[in-house]
Amino acid sequence: MGGRWRSALMTAAGFVLLVLLWELAKLVLPDAGVSVGDTRVLPRTDDAAMPHVWTVLAQLGRPEVAVPGARLVGVAVAAAALFTLGLALGGLVLGAVLGMVLALVMLRFELVERAALPYVVLSQTVPLIAIAPLVAGWGGKIAILGWSWQPWASVMVISSYLAFFPVAVGMLRGLSSPIRADVELFRAMAAGWWTTLLRLRLPASVPHLLPALRLATAAAVVGAIVAEISTGTRGGIGRLIIEYAQSATGDPSRMYAAILGAAVLGLVAAGAVGLLDVGLRRYRGSVR
């Protein structure tokens, strides 16, 4: 119990220290930063570039525009973060399901594995996110079965695309993780492919699947944010960051408030996968 208190305290202290470093930099460094030649090596620290932490937090409680009844910045940030969270989680589920299906197909048909796996592995190391601005072009131009393609669907597709690959790789690794003796035990019991899958391979895949899902979640969140920016999808946190950054009239600390929202969004998504982790704890020890 004492250990848990200590680690909670130290975690809080770590973040407080980060805030203190920020404020210290503001206090000590010159407002215009330090440049060597044309390159600025130390940042500008005036209130526009590095607002006080409390200014950013206070910003959350201010109205977005100077009109009575306008919504607060905090509400706008929260709404945008929730919107993006929805898209990211939607993309995660879509990508994860497809990834698991591909893993099963690769497990069942060795030729598929040999042909497709190198691409799946390589695709993880390749900046696939570069295609985001291209998928963005689909918005309003195509229709599937009478449903016209919405920009948010592009965001979800990119998000799922990024989540797909780590899940496919992790799942396949997990499904093939049971040691020979276990597989032979099932064969000795005359268990069929499906029984072996259900009783041995699927439980054994959990410890490999969970880290893959964690990677996929982070990728899905980044994917959703970047996709929003390049598709110009309104309503999400990525777009909000850009809007606040580019609005000349607004307080610069608003952009920081939006970025804070994006950070919280990432943590919430990671926390959601963490819950899954807890739910599947029973299977976690089966890595050998």
Partner: protein, 250 residues
């Protein structure tokens, strides 16, 4: 002979995929905004080759500088964290939180802090993106000392510094280079994505967006292809480094 046997399924799939892609685009009349034909992309690559090289050099340079800086900082921070319990308990949660957070969203922050006319903001984004996996895997390597080695060093009455030098650091080397391998392609991805957030418009990411905005889809895909090649180069360099360093170990 065996490598040919191993290589044919992916090669066949690749060729088949390209041919199918070309055929589908031509026969079904897929509009270019959805997907241009490989031949059209190939032609665009031929036309734009010089620009492709120079933009790749810009993005690749940012990725490389950020990768080296992030790698150095990550290893250093992990060493400090292994050395002091206080530092470890302070830094670990922050770094773990950073791994769940979309770090690229910091790009506009660095742009306002350092100005939009330098490469520094993007390099800083790459640095932080790289720092996280390098810190995590180095810290893991420094922690994973075999109990028998720990006892041996105690039995030999070794000093803490000797313990680090003879056992901890060399033992962590495979983990450190694994961190580098994981971080190398991530550096390219971060360098490209950071370009979507504004700043200088001279890299691969900005070229993809501007070509897409100008409905020059084949050209956009040519820049995507260059991004993929750049990512692969970094991946191969990382894997090669890992293999060279861990050679001869079991």
């Amino acid at each position: 002979m065996r490598s040919v046997l191993r290589a044919w399924p992916p090669l066949a799939l690749g060729v088949l995929g390209l041919v199918a892609w070309e055929l589908v685009v031509r026969l079904a009349g897929v509009p270019a905004f959805l997907l241009p034909a490989p031949s059209a992309i190939g032609a665009a690559i031929g036309q734009q080759f010089g620009v492709l090289l120079s933009t790749s050099a810009v993005t690749g340079g940012n990725a490389l500088v950020g990768l080296l800086a992030g790698f150095g900082l990550g290893v250093l921070l992990a060493l400090l964290a292994a050395w002091s319990r206080l530092l470890r308990e302070l830094t670990t949660p922050v770094v773990l939180a950073a791994s769940a957070v979309p770090i690229v969203a910091l790009a506009p922050v660095f742009t306002t802090m350092f100005g939009s006319t330098t490469e520094l903001p993007r390099r800083l984004v790459v640095t932080i993106v790289v720092l996280v996996p390098v810190f995590v895997s180095t810290a893991r390597g420094l922690r994973q000392v075999l109990p028998v080695h720990d006892e041996l060093m105690t039995a030999l009455a070794a000093s803490p510094w000797q313990h680090a030098r003879f056992v901890r650091l060399p033992g962590a080397v495979p983990h450190i280079v694994t961190g580098l391998r994981l971080a190398a392609p991530a550096a390219v991805i971060a360098a490209i994505v950071a370009e979507y957030f504004g700043g200088l418009q001279n890299g691969l990411g900005s070229r993809v967006s501007s070509a897409a905005a100008n409905t020059a889809y084949a050209r956009a895909w040519a820049f995507v292809a260059a991004s993929i090649v750049l990512g692969l180069l970094f991946h191969l360099a990382g894997s090669l480094t890992e293999r060279l360093v861990t050679r001869g170990r079991t």
